[in-house]
Each structure stands twice: as structure tokens, then as C-alpha cells.
């Protein structure tokens, strides 16, 4: 069987999920993410996995959490309004520490917006979409091959840290077809959730005394325990007005923020001696790479920082970068979201300037090149 394929981004996402051991998908049709579901509707029943088209986006998110709690590696995929509808149960998975992967194929606009055009304006929703304080892991691939590998990584991180992981890519990358070489099974190591080693009688589902990620028993394995969306104690039962709530919410944050070294991934291109840097992810990262190469051919010392992890934000890396360059240009398909994070981390050490576009077309290399030139 040839492992080289021509795949669409959304199909590569589905293939990445299968490679990672995903055996449960629940979703609801929505453009431009539907191909993820369609691909898995063909594949999962053949491997004995579960494919569910639920009655709505909310139900799909809920079913995914149920599937994961019963021991499956579970995925849902959505876009735009569907991602908004996922938020409440996404928060439930965060607080109850049930691993799952949520794919958001980003389209344009609030409301129905531009269903068939790319957008990146969900990126703050990926961080803060559900109510309350909570951690977020969000990966932002830019190439079909990367969608595959980052989806695998999303499952690994989700299981390892017992938290939902969002994979956010825009419609262009989701629908683009590219050559991809599917790695041999085992070539990318797979990670499972930490499992209890104690007998059921001693099991505390949210015991953080031995680390920030408590071992997780699946339902129906003899470890009968309680899961609730209320703030809870180590035994899983609700606590009210307790200092435990504060310390536990800090722990949830810490298990992500405190593991940046493991979670934050990025690609650098010609940054070594750069005077101007472009910070861009997803399709903008691809346009930026072309723009940087063109600028270099004009003798401009430009470089690209392309985050593969947007949340937790690569704070240290951007801080260091801001000390080395005169300006960071931030193209994004929104009216100014991730540029605020870059600015926050640059702390005035260099100029930070956004390029914003929300008309349903990508930002072109020419647009970025023009701003690189202006910077000097």
C-alpha cells in the first residue's frame, strides 16, 4: 500500500485522527469542515469505531465527551457557528479533564458570515470561548501534511494532559489538496491517558497530590466515580466556596501553561539575522513565507515566525524575537486578534503592526511584502 497520497486538508485531519487511534467521532454537518466527518463516516465503521452524526453541534460535543469517558479517543469537527455551539461542553471537558479533540475549520465572519471563505477570527474564541477561567491548547497547522501530524499531536497532548485540544485551521488549508506521505504506523509515538494503578477503593479521580494530571479511570472498568461540571474536590464531588476551587483552577491552568516547553511548537524561516519578522499562522504563514523569500531576494533581511501552537501562546519566543528585530508584521484573517498577543509579548521592544483582511480571500504575499518594505 502506498503511503504517498494526494489529500485534502480535511481528509488529512481525519487520517491523522485515525493514525492517532481515534475510534469515536460525533459531528454535525457544517461548511467548511464537513469532509472530516464524511471521511470518518467511511472509515470508522470499517475499523469497528463509532461514527455518529448527532442532532446538533451541542449533542456532538456531548457525545464525544461521553465516548472519551468510556475509554475512546474521540473527535469532533466543526466551523463557525458550530464552534460557538460547542463552547459550553468544551468547558465541561476542560473542568472534568476528559480528553477530546475539537477541529475548527475556520471560516469568515460572525454569525453565518462567509461559510465558504477562510477566516482566522475564531482564534481568541479558541482561547476564551467557553465561560470562566480555563486552559486552552490550540494547534494551527498550515500545510496538509501538518494537519495530519498536528492532529496526531492534538490527540497525544489531549490524552497526556487530560484536556480538550483544539486544532484550528482555515478553510483554504482545509480544502487544499497536497502531497502527503502517511508515516508508517509507530513512526509517530502515540500517547494514552495516565491510568490509575491503585485499586478502585483507593481511587480519587481528581487527586493532584502526585502531579498536576491525575490518572484517569474510564467508566465501566470497576472504578465507579462521579464526574460533575461543578467545581469538585479530589474525590470528584462538588465543593462550594472552598479554597480548593481556587487551587484547582490554578492547577488546570498550570498543567497547560506549566508545560509550554512540551506543548509550544513553531517553525522559523530565515530569522537568524532578520530586521523585520513576520508572525503568521495557517494560510497567512504560507503567504508570509513567499513574501519573506521575495524580500530576501530584494536584499531585505526579513524572516518568519510561524507558530504551530497558538495557545498557550509562544510568549518567550515572541519576547526574544521582539528584542532582535525592528518590527514584527502580523498578517491575520481577522480585524486584529493575534496581533494583540504579539504586542503584549513584545512589550514595546519593537514595533508591531497588523495586516487584517476579512473579505473571504487570503492575504497575498504581495500585501505582506509591501508592509515588509515599508518597515524599513
Amino acid at each position: 500500500m502506498t503511503r504517498v497520497k494526494l489529500l485534502q486538508g480535511n481528509e488529512a485531519c481525519a487520517e491523522g485522527a485515525l493514525y492517532a487511534g481515534c475510534n469515536f467521532f460525533a459531528g454535525y454537518p457544517i461548511t467548511p469542515s464537513t469532509e472530516v466527518a464524511e471521511h470518518l463516516a467511511r472509515k470508522l465503521p470499517r475499523s469497528g469505531g463509532v461514527f455518529l452524526q448527532m442532532e446538533d453541534e451541542i449533542a456532538a460535543m456531548a457525545a464525544v465527551i461521553g465516548g472519551s469517558l468510556a475509554g475512546c479517543k474521540a473527535l469532533t469537527a466543526t466551523s463557525g457557528p458550530g464552534f460557538s455551539l460547542k463552547q459550553e461542553n468544551l468547558g465541561f471537558a476542560m473542568l472534568t479533564e476528559i480528553p477530546c479533540v475539537v477541529v475548527d475549520v475556520m471560516r469568515g465572519g460572525p454569525s453565518t458570515g462567509v461559510p465558504t471563505g477562510p477566516g482566522q477570527s475564531d482564534i481568541m474564541q479558541c482561547r476564551w470561548g467557553t465561560h470562566g477561567d480555563h486552559p486552552s491548547i490550540c494547534l494551527t497547522p498550515a500545510y496538509v501534511e501538518e494537519i495530519f501530524s498536528e492532529t496526531v499531536r492534538a490527540f497525544n497532548l489531549s490524552e497526556k494532559y487530560r484536556t480538550p485540544v483544539i486544532v484550528a485551521f482555515d478553510e483554504v488549508v482545509g480544502h487544499m489538496r497536497e502531497r502527503i506521505e502517511i508515516p508508517e504506523p509507530g513512526a509517530i509515538p502515540l500517547v494514552g491517558r495516565p491510568r490509575p494503578t491503585c485499586p478502585p477503593s483507593e481511587y480519587l479521580p481528581y487527586d493532584d497530590s502526585r502531579g498536576d494530571v491525575p490518572p484517569m479511570a474510564n467508566f465501566f472498568e470497576g472504578y465507579r466515580y462521579h464526574v460533575t461540571g461543578l467545581n469538585h474536590g479530589p474525590d470528584g464531588f462538588p465543593v462550594n466556596a472552598s479554597p480548593r476551587i481556587h487551587t484547582d483552577e490554578l492547577r488546570l491552568l498550570r498543567k497547560v501553561e506549566g508545560n509550554r516547553g512540551d506543548i509550544v511548537r513553531f517553525a522559523e524561516h530565515r530569522l537568524e539575522d532578520a530586521e523585520v519578522a513576520v508572525f503568521a499562522y495557517g494560510i497567512c504563514g504560507r503567504s508570509a513565507k513567499t513574501a519573506v523569500d521575495q524580500a530576501r531576494s530584494e536584499g531585505i533581511r526579513a524572516g518568519l515566525f510561524r507558530p504551530l501552537t497558538v495557545w498557550p501562546f509562544p510568549e518567550e519566543q515572541v519576547a526574544a524575537l521582539s528584542g532582535r528585530v525592528r518590527r514584527i508584521v502580523v498578517p491575520e484573517l481577522s480585524l486584529g486578534q493575534i496581533v494583540l498577543e504579539v504586542d503584549r509579548c513584545a512589550k514595546g521592544r519593537c514595533a508591531v503592526e497588523g495586516i487584517h483582511r476579512v473579505d473571504g480571500d487570503p492575504i497575498t504575499p504581495a500585501q505582506i511584502l509591501a508592509r515588509i518594505r515599508e518597515a524599513l
Partner: protein, 271 residues
């Protein structure tokens, strides 16, 4: 010999949060007796709930218990059941939880005929939030958000379940607790989606507003108003006014169950 409820109750988790006079305790005990009567292993049971007074029940019981978001319990339960189709999945919900915010999941679980049992603790009101009218509040009844009498219409929950495709539909009441045990047993034994609409008394937020002087009055109302389905069918329209049928109201055997249909497809694809 007295029934030993203690073997199913988690140590240290009682007293429950329910008000004095609330009938949920009666139904809770019925549920435990019904599970016991089937001789099920608690490891094989998941008890799932949404939000509301009834939804606190799972926390007290030593099963695999999952207290989810408002209205969504059936969707979570669907995930559990599809992942482990040989396990027993039970959902407890209130009338608002099941048929207002969770109405979509309710009708689709019925349509899908997935082998889950839903117990609707129907007290005609939103109790936990202090007595707002729900989709099962009868016209003319009073609620904090219908202070001049309810001008909205009510769902007949068993009729809704039947219309949506559930294959086992029953109604019981907290007053008729012994009969309720059997309804819950039959619902759980049924292969397919089963719904038991369980009429309950919320003296705190419903009874007080609706001329029930005491919790006992509410139970006595159940005693009078709910009539076994066969007897109800024989009532004249005049006699039937203000009365409701109870017992098994609808049952279809032989409609394919969803997990069986799905995993049947999985098996076919292997060959």
C-alpha cells in the same frame, strides 16, 4: 426483610439537597429497588444527568455517575452507550431539562431508539431556579414567570416520546411507588429507547403557588388524578376530565435498536 438502600448509596454523600416534602426521595428509592431487582452489577451501570434538582441524584449513587450540562444528558449518554453498548445507561432529568433545553436530544434519542432509559422527574416547574414555568406546566397554573397564570401550553411528555419514536413509554407517579418500581424495571429491560414520565411533587416552588396546602396534598392529587391506562380508556369524557393515564402507555417490540443496527453494519463490513 427491609430493603438495604445503603449498599447503593455512596458513604458520606447524604443528606441529599432536596427540600423537605420533595417527592424525589421516593423516586430515588424506587430507582434503587428497580436496579436491585434486576441484579445488575453497579460497575456496568452509568447514571447520567443534566442540570436541576433531579440531576443531583447521580452523585448519591455508587454507579458510574456523570452530572453534565443543562439539557444535554442524553447526548452524553449516547456517547457512553455507543462506546460500550453492552452496558446499562440510565438518564435522570427534569421536565425543563428533558423537554425545554434538552428537547432536541429528547426527540432524537426517541427517534434513534438507542437502548437508554430516561426517567423524567416531572414536577411541572423549574425547581432549582425557584419556580419558573416549564414546558410541562399546565395552562392556568402559577409560576414565578407566569404570575398571572400560565398562558402557554404544555407538552404531554409520553405523547411526545411516542410521536418521536420511543419504543417503550410509561408514566408513573411518586405516589404509586410500588408500581413505579416495576415500570422502571420494564423500561430498563426493554431493548430500545425507554421513557418513564414520573409525576413528582415540588411543594417548595410549585405546590405553594398552586393551592396545594402541603406536600401530602400533592401526593393525594396524584392518587386521584392518575388512573391505570386500561381503566382510563374506559372513562367517559366527563369522568376523564382532570385525570391522566398511567402505566405502560406505548410499547413497540422489534424495531431495531440503534447500537445493534450500527454494530450490525460494522459486522457486515468485516465480511
Amino acid at each position: 426483610m427491609a430493603f438495604d438502600y445503603g449498599k447503593y448509596i455512596r458513604p458520606g454523600k447524604l443528606p441529599h439537597i432536596w427540600c423537605p416534602g420533595c417527592s424525589y426521595g421516593i423516586v430515588f428509592k424506587s430507582l434503587l429497588r428497580a436496579v436491585d431487582a434486576q441484579g445488575l452489577d453497579p460497575d456496568d451501570i452509568a447514571l447520567v444527568s443534566g442540570i436541576g434538582c433531579a440531576s443531583r441524584l447521580p452523585g448519591y449513587v455508587d454507579f458510574n455517575t456523570l452530572h453534565t450540562t443543562h439539557g444535554r444528558a442524553l447526548a452524553f449518554a449516547t456517547g457512553l452507550k455507543m462506546a460500550k453498548p453492552d452496558k446499562h445507561v440510565l438518564v435522570v432529568s427534569g421536565d425543563g431539562d428533558a423537554t425545554a433545553i434538552g428537547g432536541n436530544h429528547f426527540i432524537h434519542a426517541c427517534r434513534r431508539n438507542i437502548d437508554i432509559t430516561l426517567l423524567v422527574f416531572n414536577n411541572f416547574i423549574y425547581g432549582m431556579t425557584g419556580g419558573q414555568y416549564s414546558p410541562s406546566t399546565q395552562p392556568g397554573r402559577f409560576a414565578s414567570t407566569m404570575p398571572y397564570g400560565n398562558v402557554d401550553f404544555a407538552f404531554d411528555i409520553p405523547a411526545l416520546a411516542t410521536g418521536a419514536g420511543a419504543t417503550f413509554v410509561a408514566r408513573g407517579t411518586a405516589y404509586h411507588a410500588a408500581a413505579l418500581d416495576k415500570l422502571i424495571v420494564d423500561a430498563m429491560r426493554h431493548r430500545g429507547f425507554s421513557v418513564v414520565d414520573i409525576v413528582n411533587a415540588c411543594p417548595t416552588t410549585y405546590g405553594r403557588r398552586n393551592k396545594f396546602k402541603s406536600p401530602t396534598d400533592m401526593l393525594l392529587w396524584m392518587k386521584d388524578a392518575f388512573v391505570p391506562a386500561a381503566a382510563y380508556a374506559k372513562l367517559s369524557p366527563d369522568e376523564a376530565a382532570g385525570k391522566f393515564p398511567m402505566g405502560v402507555l406505548h410499547r413497540v417490540d422489534g424495531k431495531p435498536e440503534f447500537c445493534e443496527a450500527y454494530y450490525g453494519m460494522v459486522e457486515r463490513l468485516k465480511s
